[in-house]
């Protein structure tokens, strides 16, 4: 409770949480507000925003409701962002813990693999992966996770290296616990907080990567995505700029919200640490 209050004391955290809450509501309520196919043709094509109360944000080149697309796009963006971040954190935490706890050859091998992934620019890796496997939502998630797990792996390893020398770990060894059990039940939970602090950065980066992939036509074409909306709007940028600007603003707000909330978490934990 105390921590939550501290967290909410920073104005950027409040702003971040508000934006994220709004986004979450949008994503969850999309099928309620806009039942049916968001890509269905709902009215005349290229209707500007604020002309017709039934299509408040206007329509795109084919007459699809931009607001409905925006809501359903929030689902894709959030789903991809969260799923990719979860996958990246999971892979990273496991690899980092194994490397840090086992040490020696295992550490060496795992960390060199991590290095190898880190030297390839993440976006290029995702681009190559999607172009080879073919665009679909799960592939996009995998592609983003593939390029994002190295950060968590390094942080987890560094934490594990210091934790494994603690007394309670030696204690666990003495009572005869299996090394893997020690690694994942005793060490990993204590190494997690700094790793989780990376999550906001990863979620934000994942949302942007997904948008960029969709923009290049490598997203799932059967789903509405903000990146895809921007790409489609680009062909009529001069005539109907709102088609690119509206999803662009949504994207900026989302990434901003995730960053601000993440900042808030980091700051509140920092205060706690300095207090203790």
């Amino acid at each position: 409770m105390n921590r939550l209050r501290r967290f909410l004391r920073t104005p950027e955290a409040i702003a971040g949480v508000l934006i994220l809450a709004l986004l979450l509501v949008m994503a969850l309520a999309a099928p309620l507000f806009f039942p049916g196919d968001p890509q269905a043709i709902a009215g005349p094509a290229l209707l500007p925003p604020f002309q017709d109360w039934r299509l408040p944000l206007g329509t795109d080149r084919l007459g699809r409701d931009v607001l409905a697309e925006l809501f359903h796009g929030a689902r894709t963006s959030l789903a991809v962002g969260l799923a990719a971040a979860a996958a990246a954190l999971l892979i990273g935490a496991v690899v980092g813990t194994l490397a840090g706890f086992a040490g020696g050859l295992v550490d060496e091998v795992l960390m060199r693999v991590t290095d190898a992934f880190q030297t390839v620019p993440g976006f290029l890796l995702a681009l190559a992966f999607v172009s080879i496997v073919g665009p679909s939502l799960s592939v996009v998630v995998a592609a983003i996770a593939l390029s994002a797990w190295t950060g968590p792996a390094r942080v987890a390893r560094a934490e594990v290296l210091s934790i494994r020398e603690r007394d309670y770990v030696t204690g666990a060894r003495v009572i005869g616990m299996h090394p893997l059990e020690i690694a994942f039940r005793e060490v990993l939970p204590n190494a997690l907080p700094p790793v989780l602090a990376l999550s906001s950065v990863i979620v934000a980066a994942a949302i942007l990567t997904e948008a960029a992939l969709s923009f290049l036509g490598l997203g799932d074409p059967n789903r509405v995505t903000w990146g895809g909306m921007i790409a489609e709007g680009r062909t009529v940028l001069r005539t109907a700029p709102f088609l690119s600007i509206i999803p662009g603003i949504a994207l900026v707000l989302t990434v901003l919200g995730v960053y601000l909330a993440g900042e808030g978490v980091v700051e509140s934990t920092a205060v706690r640490r300095s207090l203790s």
């Binding site: 890509q39 009215g43 005349p44 094509a45 209707l47 059967n222 680009r234 001069r238 005539t239 109907a240």
Partner: protein
């Protein structure tokens, strides 16, 4: 619903306005052409092989038609729909076994050597027939080219070949290249394929990859006082939105082949000093078709194909996807073709209820989730319009309970997936009608075409009756009888729907007011531009 009608009316008014705006400047251009100047225009692709005798495609013609000339060019009002270029006259024998061309006198190649009938014989026998993508079919029975004198070329065919087909093929398929440049070594590897030598009004000067192609005036051109321009520069602008901006900034004076997106035309037509021209592509009609893979059990059923045809609102496609710059299609020959088109074919008016009834009849009932079956839909990536129509088709099919999943590919992967691997159920394709169904249209439905031939029947469709009709038409010499056979062909295709023709469109040019003699023949963008000029 009421808004929909208002917007349609608005759109119509808008397009009428556009038409008016293109008509007005045309009146002001009845002035004498001015000599000199450099025309800078947008190019959206960079073909590597610029030899139009080998690669007969509009992307190549766009640049090389100014350098390498054909025997004749299409014309709005000339005899046989043609105007003479390297050939002055043409005459077909009654038995269909020979065609005699009288060639133009005093024509010189860009390297100074004289142009003779030997060059025509060489191009026809060594390049058009064995190497050219389209010539292979049209000149398949060409046996020999006799050259009794330097200005006469007599084409000899092993089997009767319709004169009408040869005439219709001349503008696109008869680019003549110099024998003395090509006779040694492998023709495909000749350096002149990248720096063409021709007889045209312009000489190839230089190409900077990713930047520009530059052509300069041929001072020894056979046309009196022609060409008017000193230079043509093709500025490579692959991004379509940048072509519009470059026009407005006066960096380029012309953007052909709809380099300016259709949605921008309304705005750009109001920019002072720019004009939007819809003419000059009548001989290059693109067709929007739904290609069907008949290997799929559902799609092999005629009722399902009819249902899909009824589910497509062609008027909506023309008005929304093409913003009015297209016409609805009735069959495999476009409406604007003066020789072969017939409207007397089965039609499929937009009728969702009927489409649903047809699918029920065919035995594909809706499941509990409202879906009947799922399909893979591959829209061709070459044009914005084909991609957008793919999005529309997905929605149109959803309305009749067919769940179409779009698969996006780049150009190379799309051609492989559809024409080699047959990994599609429905595809959206843009084949070109080239003035005669035998050139590039009948292969869309003919069976027995080897895998991997792009823009041909790769959907596994086989109809012995249609195949026999196609063969018969290709051997029929009498023009009227041949035309009649192709009308029959259109009826049968529209009835059996091996593919669904949705719309047909020409391209749009946008130019500065100063560019004169634009769109004065049906293949203007890919003609030689000898008479194009810059005023002021």
């Amino acid at each position: 619903m009421s808004e929909l009608t208002i917007s349609r009316r608005g759109l119509l008014a808008g397009s009428a306005l556009l038409l008016a705006s293109t008509a007005l400047p045309a009146i002001g251009f009845a002035q004498t052409p001015k000599k000199g100047g450099r025309l800078v225009l947008a190019a959206d692709s960079e073909p590597r092989n610029l030899n139009p005798a080998i690669v007969a495609s509009n992307g190549v013609f766009f640049i090389s038609s100014k350098i390498v000339e054909t025997l004749a060019e299409a014309s709005f009002d000339g005899k046989d729909g043609l105007q003479p270029r390297l050939a002055l006259s043409w005459e077909g024998a009654a038995d269909g076994l020979s065609v005699t061309f009288k060639l133009r006198d005093g024509v010189k190649w860009h390297d100074g050597k004289p142009f003779t009938s030997a060059d025509v014989a060489f191009s026809a026998l060594q390049i058009w027939k064995p190497l050219q993508n389209l010539g292979r079919a049209v000149f398949k029975d060409l046996e020999a080219v006799e050259t009794p004198d330097e200005l006469t070329a007599i084409f000899k065919f092993a089997k009767p070949t319709p004169f009408q087909l040869i005439l219709n093929a001349l503008p696109a398929l008869s680019s003549v290249v110099p024998k003395h440049v090509y006779e040694n070594g492998k023709i495909e590897d000749n350096p002149a394929n990248n720096a063409p030598v021709g007889t045209g009004p312009f000489k190839f000067a230089e190409y900077k990859a990713g930047q520009y192609y530059r052509l300069t005036r041929n001072d020894a051109y056979w046309g009196k006082d022609e060409p008017y321009l000193d230079e043509i520069v093709y500025q490579v602008l692959p991004d379509r939105t940048s072509a519009a901006a470059a026009l407005e900034a006066e960096e380029i004076q012309l953007a052909a082949f709809s380099a300016v997106p259709l949605a921008d035309l309304d705005r750009i037509s109001k920019v002072p000093g720019l004009k939007v021209i819809t003419k000059g592509y009548e001989g290059l009609t693109y067709q929007l078709v739904v290609e069907i893979n008949h290997r799929r059990k559902e799609l092999a059923d005629l009722k399902v194909r009819q249902a899909i045809a009824h589910a497509i609102d062609k008027d909506f496609v023309v008005k929304t996807v093409f913003l009015g710059y297209a016409a609805t299609a009735t069959g495999p020959v476009p409406k604007n073709d003066p020789q072969f088109y017939t409207a007397d074919v089965p039609t499929y008016p937009f009728d969702v209820a009927k489409a649903n009834a047809l699918l029920d009849e065919a035995g594909y009932k809706r499941a509990d989730d409202g879906k009947r079956f799922a399909l893979k839909l591959l829209p061709a990536p070459y044009f914005n319009e084909t991609k957008q129509f793919g999005d529309y088709l997905r929605q149109a099919l959803a309305a009749i309970g067919i769940d179409a999943q779009i698969v996006n590919n780049d150009s190379a992967a799309h051609i492989k997936a559809v024409y080699t691997d047959h990994a599609f159920d429905l595809a959206v394709g843009p084949p070109v009608f080239r003035g005669d169904p035998a050139i590039s249209t009948t292969i869309l439905v003919q069976s027995g075409i080897p895998d991997g031939v792009p823009f041909s029947n790769q959907g596994g469709y086989k109809n012995a009756e249609l195949d026999a009709l196609i063969v018969k038409a290709s051997e029929t010499l009498d023009t009227a009888a041949r035309t009649e056979l192709y009308k029959e062909f259109q009826k049968k295709v529209a009835a059996d729907l091996p593919l669904i023709n949705v719309a047909e469109w020409g391209f749009i040019s946008v130019a500065r007011d100063t560019v004169g003699n634009i769109a004065n023949n049906p293949r203007w963008a890919v003609s030689n531009w000898a008479d194009t000029y810059l005023a002021g």
